[in-house]
Symmetry: D3
Subunit: 338 residues, 6 copies
């Protein structure tokens, strides 16, 4: 079954019969003692909630958070907001759905990104660092999670695949800077660019449609977790030079640039300084890119106040992209999940 | 040979023949091309420098930094400062000296401190935390270094044995607070008090008479190093609960209390909050104790401006202690090294 | 008449006939020129508002802010919020009500706290400080107000009796620290713990159910007011040593620890430093205790973002207490007012 | 005996026989066991030190800190600095000296300032505030000390009479602003201008030639002391309105403008806001005036870096004043002390 | 046609037929595809919005933002807020309306302010500065806009004519200070007071009823724009001394007092320091004046929390003014626009 | 005459006869009334001072600050510092000296840098920006001064030609970033990189061997001066789009990135954000490069504490460069001045 109706297109009065992801379901009771469900469903374009009054028990079995359902119903207005009115729900197997319909994801091609990452890893001359990178980026659970991870919760690159996109962009910048300035250890800087946020794989718990901090993530932070992950990996590579490990750990631990931003130590090597710069630049540029993609037309205009930057921005949209974005269906990223 | 002459007692014109530690030695050359040495020797009371003009080559062999020598000479005035005039130097075996003559050390009895630590460890009810503490504090290289370590470079508890003294004082405070407030995990808080600075054993390179940061110490910081050490130890204890490890790591990583003070994450558990408080209190109280010990008499008076506290302090000395401290020989701490 | 219905238990449609405290009453007029009242009543569990359409004049006479009434009515929904519908009101004498039903108060036994305070005062060795403490804590208007005062408006110990609870907790900590560190003036530190917030008695105007700043409180602050109160008391104690008074005033004036927190001078004596620490610890620990009391079960979980601490906290509830708190009636603190 | 030789005029080799104030005297001992004195004398233009080798005992009796002596001797060079060589000293009665020769004082006429102050006090319409001002400024010990006090230790108006000069300047500004803005309580603002620093009379111990903080001054600060002094004075004025006292205390307590500058509360009334502004302006303008008086000629030039203002200033001197200041004798302020 | 109905007087159910300014108009479409307008009209007392269902096309032609209309209709309640119900609209020529009915303006007489400005300009002794001032304040587009400009968007003097009022107040303060302190260049200080915000004429786009930043204003800021405007004016005055121009530009560029407040350089001359002070004082005093004008009666009371000042204020109203302000019609300022 | 002796090579006792630049000369008088000169001479390696006792009048005519002299003399020790002893001085024409001997200059080839700049200018597609760049960088006084200017006084690129070197490095980074991120206006970013510090040409007065702020530079700052210079240049280019000028001015005014760093407005366009980043990176990288060039060997080591970065750095030298830098004569940069 191919999903054709997306939440953001639904208007009051619309009827639909399509696939949705159950975000949450809560059993409640009226004053009169009657059971009912409050059901929230979502797809990649938004979410919709409403009560389920009939067949509550059967419906409750089908509608479990994180599962997919086929939902027939319509959109009603309730206190000026659209509300879901459920007619029927039906269980759907996860294999029948295209995950790309349910997750906001990078617009870049995941396959291409993976290949670019491999090329970058191969270009690292230092054999120990190359082995270290292969440990994380060749295959396995970390690699699987890394590909799907957002770079942050709700700020920059906040979508599936965003972490990979961010690391690749930084690695390309690292490559440029290593060519621009004299005496930069390119292997180290590129390894730092690719590994600096590796701890996020463990700091963030990513389910379809939900990103949350893990307890461990909050109590230790992704810098320390990343530093530990790299140490564990290096321990499995024979003769990995201890000083080199300290350098990589320093890159990871110091990449927030300042202690008040959560780095236990400030960047003290050339590579660590450059890494903290390009992390900052790339994060801000992605945030701006997101703002520009939402603009209509290329003309310069003022954005809303951007709290994270503490300023208004004066931006133009990406003119030539407008055509593509004006198609009716929200853009899909099939390859990421196929 | 028993050392009887200490640097702080030497006045212009004094002759001496006693044991000293070579702090540094530098071969130099006069304009006329003649070799000479600039020798700096020290004991626990201070240091003294001067040129060596005769037997330079032989003297250079004997006077290596970190080694002990028997030195005959006198004190001269040179540009209003006392200068060492060397008559002869003689090699001395490290076993022949009493290390306590050369190192500023805690005034507390090391043996008693070790025993108190053992009692505290035994009082920890959680079996995993008790095993973890035994891993560090029973014997072995870490325990040897821990006993000798200062708690900091030049601020509080800045003397051999100071780290142990600081951790014990904190553990006693932890014990009190665990009794005072409801719902404190005493095992965890005491483990945190004893382990919070364990990374300093690796962050600081302690030679006799010199404390320096290691490269690794500067590039990672003792919080992250300590967190790693604890993880490594827990990995060797079978079935050590992962959540408990995270709690201990959180205590260590957050004990500076604020990110701008170098903690990658702020204290987020009750025990972590209390630990950061008692670390702060105990460090400041030791700093004040050092100031008070230098005062004569018990009368309240104003200290010099204390840069680390950004204020003047109004303190009285410890009256009853004055007698002991007025003896001519600088106080010795034999037991620490015997 | 014994109050059995509490605001927090009232649901839409419920009818009641019980005692309430009038929080505010406002005479208003419809567009059509008809008078009506907007009445807000409260008890210790919450408050409820609604219009009074009938017998407006008579009702207005009875319903004066700060007075108790017997109120018959029901709960209606109005714009999705519960609203008071008044059937009748009747004047009630203050002596007929149990004040504990109307005020959020400390869970500790006031009598026990008063006795503990007396023991602490008697344990103060310095005779002048003991007399000073007796001046405030033996009897009289200040003592009456002190017992009933919250320690703060809406942050820590924000309930009747909270100030006494806070000061006692601090005094016990002071006692421990005076035993732990050498050279602490225990008399002074305990006096400081008990008197540090004495100015709040004047800074805050406490009526039943309302705590507000006085003009004088806002324009001078409780630190300066407390310092003045202590000076006035000392002036009545013959031969009170001027230097000792300055020390006590310094403790009060500096106990916020830093100028940016409102202390005109920073702590400059050992006792003042310790006092500012334990004030900070005890305030934060009470805030956390309040959070933990609201949790169900003992399992660790993340709190809401705590603005005053600028962080999330990871806390477990007090398991054994849960039973008591699950009883249907909100916990009462009879002894405080009887 | 009229003083004619001033320290700042003395050059190497000069002989002199004149009056000086003993700033300090210290008995010392040579290595050889011989007693000698280290004597420091001063006048309003500077100070000079040197050893006294002969008649040590007799000389020690005469030369007590704070006393005046007739000193014969010469200036020698010692390590490139001028040193005092004493030939003889002789006791001098304080009545025989003109104090103006020994104290850096305001250039304004003290008598005129006192009269202007009286006029300002008489112009205050509120009878209670007028009485309050008369309490401080009519006569008595506080008035004597107030007239001689500097406004600060080493920053602005740092000379005898500076406090009076500063308060008068502020009162004139207060008068202007009360005329400029609507609804200013002129009586209150002028009272605030005259009383805002009254606590300095107690905070600073002023001996001839020396200004030091008192213990009490450091432990309470001049804001709180001033607030107390005003309360004590008001207590002696029958029916002094309590609210008015709180207003005056608020002016004093808040006049530093911000908590981080030591005000326990920030200005919250119109008069308090204006007072904190004019205190700031007048202090900075006096600092600048001092800089300009030291400049030669009227041309604009850059000052040294001014640490208290964190900037360089671009100033011109006071051209017409140069003539007066080029006279050989340092300017005298006879009237202040006669 | 004379406007008699003002928005702030309109209550639910009121009918009206009066002049309004169109603030905005937006063409919209119902789900059913029917066009309608959302019209917002305003006068100086407030604004009102509502849908227009009939004669949409004709109405759309008449109701253009910034134009005046005669509007017949009534006030309805819609979700508890008053809503405009339009019966008919009619085009009105701008000359037929009294602009003072539509703009919040200074309460001072514009003519008097203009004359006072001229007197101040004539009093400036330096001929070049006088010419410079005449350039801006004699006539022409800048002068026209200057007279109508608010001093700020929504903070102090935020009403038509506010900028002129603010500059005049500052110039009078400048005059006083130039008389109070020695060695102030009065010409320069008064020129600075009058010109310091001249860039706002360009930074802010002022339409009737709307004040917005221009792109240029946001991208350069009024300090730099003002500095440029002065340079351009000076370029037209023959022989304008370059150093004098730099002084005036320094006054403008530094008048925010600190870099973090947007001054690229801090005040470094006496006049620049004074200017930054009086700008700060006058802005705060106007903000307070606005608060006081809204108070009823003269009694002291606490304001709401003032975010821009980070405090509550304790203010009394202007008693004698109350009479004037209690008249039913919102105060008019005819002279500003006539 | 070719200079062969450089100040940094001169040791006590050395005689010399070579070319020097007069840095300063001051006529003084001994106590005995004899005239003498205090002469300070310099070359690119350092400076040397000493008194001139003979032929004072003739010598004074020859030795004017900023002029070149042939100086015969020797080096004496005076209070442990080398002092100049002058035997004779002789006037030298500026054309006879190689300026490169007297100025610390960039190690890059000035001719190559000029050509690279031209290529970059030609690559700017926007015709107005290209014209604007040509206005500054084609020829004329500004271009002459620009080439010789340091990028800063004593921090980064603090040597002749440093400004050009810095701007070129930034322009290359700008080029890379414009290729890396989508939707960057490359013309604008490159123009910003080349022009951002153009105001320094006016802010700094650069004489041979001396860099000082101009009065105008200090009172306005190079950001505002640069913005004015660009506006003046654009005014001469027909039809220069006003919006484009505002964009360029915004780049210049905001390039310090934050108001507290002296930018009157923060970067609000994409290009301005990127420009402030690359300015920061390039300045820090040059500072580090200077540190690395002073290191011997390539091994990692800790630098002194770097106050401008508030940290120690862990750097390795540039190994392959060491050979060149070990030559005896300080490196020369002939081409810059020939």
């Amino acid at each position: 079954m191919t999903k054709t109706t997306f939440v953001e297109q639904l208007k009051e009065g619309d009827r639909f019969d399509d696939l949705f992801l159950v975000k949450s379901v809560r059993l409640s009771e009226t004053k009169a003692g009657k059971d009912y469900l409050i059901l929230t469903v979502m797809d990649r374009s938004g979410e919709l909630s409403g009560p389920v009054w009939d067949n509550v028990e059967a419906c409750h079995k089908v509608c479990r958070a994180g599962e997919f359902i086929r939902l027939k119903g319509m959109v009603q207005a309730y206190r000026d907001k659209p509300q879901l009115k459920v007619d029927s729900v039906q269980e759907i197997d996860r294999n029948e759905v295209d995950l790309a319909d349910f997750v906001v994801a990078t617009t870049r091609d995941p396959q291409q990104m993976a290949e670019e990452l491999q090329r970058l890893v191969r270009s690292v001359k230092d054999p120990f660092l190359r082995k270290l990178l292969n440990h994380f980026f060749k295959s396995g659970a970390i690699w699987d999670r890394f590909q799907m991870a957002p770079a942050a919760k709700g700020i920059h690159h906040a979508y599936a695949g965003g972490l990979l996109e961010h690391c690749l962009s930084m690695a390309r910048l690292a490559d440029m800077l290593a060519g621009h300035y004299e005496g930069i250890d390119r292997s180290l800087l590129i390894a730092g660019a690719l590994l600096h946020d590796i701890g996020k794989v463990d700091e963030l718990a990513m389910e379809i449609g939900v990103v949350e901090y893990t307890d461990r993530g909050r109590l230790k932070g992704h810098l320390v977790i990343g530093s530990e992950m790299v140490a564990a990996a290096a321990a499995r590579i024979s003769d990995f030079p201890p000083d080199l490990l300290v350098q990589v750990q320093h890159l990871i631990l110091s990449h927030h640039g300042r202690q008040e931003f959560g780095s236990p130590i400030v960047p003290m090597t050339v590579e660590a300084l450059l890494l903290s710069f390009i992390d900052d630049v790339d994060a801000k540029m992605n945030l701006i890119e997101q703002l520009r993609r939402k603009m209509e037309g290329g003309a310069m205009q003022w954005t809303e106040y951007q709290r994270s930057l503490e300023r208004f921005l004066y931006l133009g949209g990406f003119e030539e992209k407008e055509v593509a974005e004006e198609t009716n269906t929200p853009a899909r990223q099939q390859s990421l999940f196929s």
